[in-house]
Assembly symmetry: C2
Amino acid sequence: MNEYYIIKESALRDFTENVFRSMGCSDKHSTLAADVLLKADLRGIDSHGVARLTGYVRLWEKGRVNAKPDIKIVHETPSTATIDGDAGLGLVVAPFAMKIAIEKAKNAGSGWIAIKNSNHFGIAGYHALMAVEQDMIGFAVTNASPLVAPTFSTERMLGTNPICYAFPAGKYPPFITDMATSTAANGKLEIAQRKGTDVPTGWIQDKNGNTTTNPHGLKEGGSLLPLGSDREHGSHKGFGLSATVDILSAVLSGASYGPWAPPFVAFINPLPDQPGQGLGHFLGAMRVDGFRPVDEFKSHMDNWIDRFKQATPINPDQRVVIPGEPEYEAEIERRKNGIPLIDVVVNDLNEVAEKFGIEKLN
Amino acid sequence: MNEYYIIKESALRDFTENVFRSMGCSDKHSTLAADVLLKADLRGIDSHGVARLTGYVRLWEKGRVNAKPDIKIVHETPSTATIDGDAGLGLVVAPFAMKIAIEKAKNAGSGWIAIKNSNHFGIAGYHALMAVEQDMIGFAVTNASPLVAPTFSTERMLGTNPICYAFPAGKYPPFITDMATSTAANGKLEIAQRKGTDVPTGWIQDKNGNTTTNPHGLKEGGSLLPLGSDREHGSHKGFGLSATVDILSAVLSGASYGPWAPPFVAFINPLPDQPGQGLGHFLGAMRVDGFRPVDEFKSHMDNWIDRFKQATPINPDQRVVIPGEPEYEAEIERRKNGIPLIDVVVNDLNEVAEKFGIEKLN
């Protein structure tokens, strides 16, 4: 098993900013990109935090990430816009786009932004929560490396394509659902691989389309399964959601979709004959007071949360979990006590530090 | 087993309009409400068509449906609005709201409407497809009678809360995903009950929270399970989606949410101390050309659909199903050949006809 290092937030933040600066990102972009990654680590979504930093560096080395992007609006109406990310880090492009969504929402009630020519944007929740801070409802989806097979197929056609909705509450933290549209995310397979344990049936299928408990099944030509796992349990719904995310993010924006979505791992080249540019995202913000007064809404959100917390539990030791609450609690704890990183991740990061000639993590 | 009657579309439409007129609905509302119900029958979504007509009548008899509603906008911005349905049929209130969403989208790029004080709105797809006809993207969600338990709970807190996204395509029919956020919808249980067969594990749990294959489990105090079925297979995601639908539809609009959502069956009274008014919906329309030219979008949608149709199948006899295609094909077939209705439904409808003194179905 792995060893863990506990790294203070400020140290990890400084380190991460240094890496982005070493890639040639501006100070402003380095700070922002580090903030997005750190948010994942702070919220306990370890698969999407600094564990991915070396992946971004390798994409930049391959010339697939532009460290000095000229991000711009290429099309717009009062409540919609399309943005060209100029192959920049999604960590920078997506917050740029969400700011525009929020501005549009201030003026028109809502703002919806399709983004093309981008890269992996970190956790969807970061972007959706930007809207919540303005008493808006936040929405964020993105397409991603093709790893998921549609129902009835063996072919990897879709990413784990997350959907995120975030709502402000009153006395409670924001309600936020931020979920891959596959049954299990890739990060969970990696944990099973490291532990050498089987995975549950219904997470992956082998290259012939049979469900398998082999945690290496994906590497051996298999694919992740859409939420629902099989047709009988609604995998066509997971497929429909994932496809919707792909269409909003890429067909609508002019990014590459389906099996053409550029892979996050730098050693796999994007397919030839790309139908669009880079990865795509789709972000939205709606003013709560575009529908009802903010105080009213928040008080009913609190009532909703109170009632769901009181739902009769199956087991009295495990009550209903309000989406977003565990991550909120993790953030408080990790800001105080530091962020646990496994040795593999720390070693990878220190190799990057060595390459760039910057200070190591420990 | 049941006998089937094949009823011509025009006969079923006339009959349905007559029933709504007998309830006191205006000619215009009767035509519209019948159109929404017929759309479900034509598209093969039998559980949401005229099979529900007697349910609407019973709600009206209980005074829970207002046949002459004064539907109005109570709050708005250029791209958002809240509508009070005045306890009207959702079949009438939702299309009224979608028309406003489309108007707002024409002017501001997108339109988003929260609706309170409504009733069951039929299939979500009807409303979303109204936007598609205008080269817009359609979105429709609604909360519903509480039948679904959150992950870790035995309590029915949420409806089957559907999510629908619809996109126009070029040479292909619209891509439309219209799905309950539970693993199985109630209609599928009813089919198993009629056939006397077990249901798969993962569809329902008994009153103690154990999965059961008893198709009567729901009636015996159990509950439907969120998409994903159990925690290991992502039921917290299905719960998160269902909760999102509840919040958008009801907390945002001022309708009743969670366990307070008024039941569709007239013999169960709504809970006391309602936190809002009636059922809620949330509808949206976004102009495709708010993001990119319509022709470009449609040509990439066709390319997306072509590519997914060619995805390597597990079994060559069952290729990937494009969401919305089976329903589109059913509609062509049923418009031509008529709509199959089981004898139970026909008998129910003829009882209503007798009560109202209108012509029977056959």
